[in-house]
């Protein structure tokens, strides 16, 4: 069952990713990206990482895609397809992609790199639940970074208003 779900989600994810790169209209690309993000969220759930799945949907599928669409709105009409791609850039991109694929494959199949497991092993997470485990750590040990995140978001609001508002 898990495998079947994984295969279905993975195939959709790859097709959507190809759609992002290949679609002629930027808006279509953004919608493919949305589909890709949603399937990724499904994959995260298969990995028992519910929090990341939810964050993926809320932040990426929600906020980031909205930002992309807003950027498209800001572009002047008809100009979005004028790209002067130099051929060597494409060759270089393919080279990088192959290199990356090789790297990922190498690490995945040989398992040469192994890290140190932290205190939250998969067993422990399965016991308390992923989101609850995150909540318990975030609001006790990582309290300071949590509050700093709100200051960071505040800076974001002020920055957005200062840079983009016509009159201050």
């Amino acid at each position: 069952m898990e495998l079947a779900l994984f295969v279905v989600l993975a195939v959709i994810a790859v097709i959507a990713a190809a759609g992002v790169v290949l679609s002629k209209k930027a808006a279509t690309g953004a919608l493919f990206l949305l589909l890709n993000f949603c399937t990724l969220a499904g994959l995260y759930i298969l990995l028992n990482a519910q929090f990341i799945a939810v964050a993926q949907v809320i932040i990426y599928a929600g906020a980031i895609v909205v930002l992309f669409l807003f950027v498209l709105m800001l572009l002047s009409p008809g100009k979005e397809e004028s790209q002067d791609r130099k051929p060597y850039i494409r060759v270089f991109a393919v080279f990088l992609a192959v290199l990356m694929l090789g790297e990922v494959g190498y690490v995945a199949f040989t398992g040469v790199l192994s890290g140190t497991p932290g205190q939250y092993t998969p067993e422990k997470i399965a016991e308390v639940g992923n989101v609850q485990a995150i909540g318990q750590v975030l609001f006790t040990d990582f309290l300071l970074p949590f509050e700093l995140a709100s200051v960071l978001l505040l800076v974001g609001i002020v920055g957005a208003v200062v840079l983009a508002k016509r009159e201050l």
Binding site: F51, M73, F146, A160
Partner: protein
């Protein structure tokens, strides 16, 4: 553990199937008599003049950015709500401070007119 998602899975399948079935049914049942007026974009409206894609002003972007900030805020609310029973009053105060700082930002953005769709 996957069985926890049975209902969500059924829901997703039904949600996807619903519009497909409705559209397919309509496709087979409806009569097909196209003519020039009927296949125009706005059958009973005005034709658009020029491009439909107009360039928006950068001010709208503030909207999107403020949205992103408060969207991220909800991500923090989610584990807080789930773990609240174990954390108790202390977590309430923490979240209150977190939100208070952001509400400061909201008041600022509001008073600056960043939330007006002009």
């Amino acid at each position: 553990m996957l069985s926890d998602y049975t209902f969500i899975g059924i829901f997703v399948v039904v949600a996807i199937a619903f519009p497909i079935i409705a559209l397919a049914l309509a496709f087979f049942v409806r009569p097909k008599k196209p003519d020039a007026v009927k296949s125009s974009t706005y059958e009973c409206g005005l034709e658009t003049i020029g491009e439909t894609w107009v360039q928006f002003r950068v001010q709208y972007y503030v909207y999107a950015l403020v949205f992103v900030v408060f969207d991220i805020e909800t991500v923090f609310l989610y584990p807080w709500a789930v773990a609240y029973n174990k954390l108790g009053l202390f977590a309430l105060v923490e979240m209150f401070i977190f939100l208070a700082i952001l509400v400061g930002g909201l008041i600022y953005a509001w008073r600056k007119g960043a939330l007006e769709w002009v």
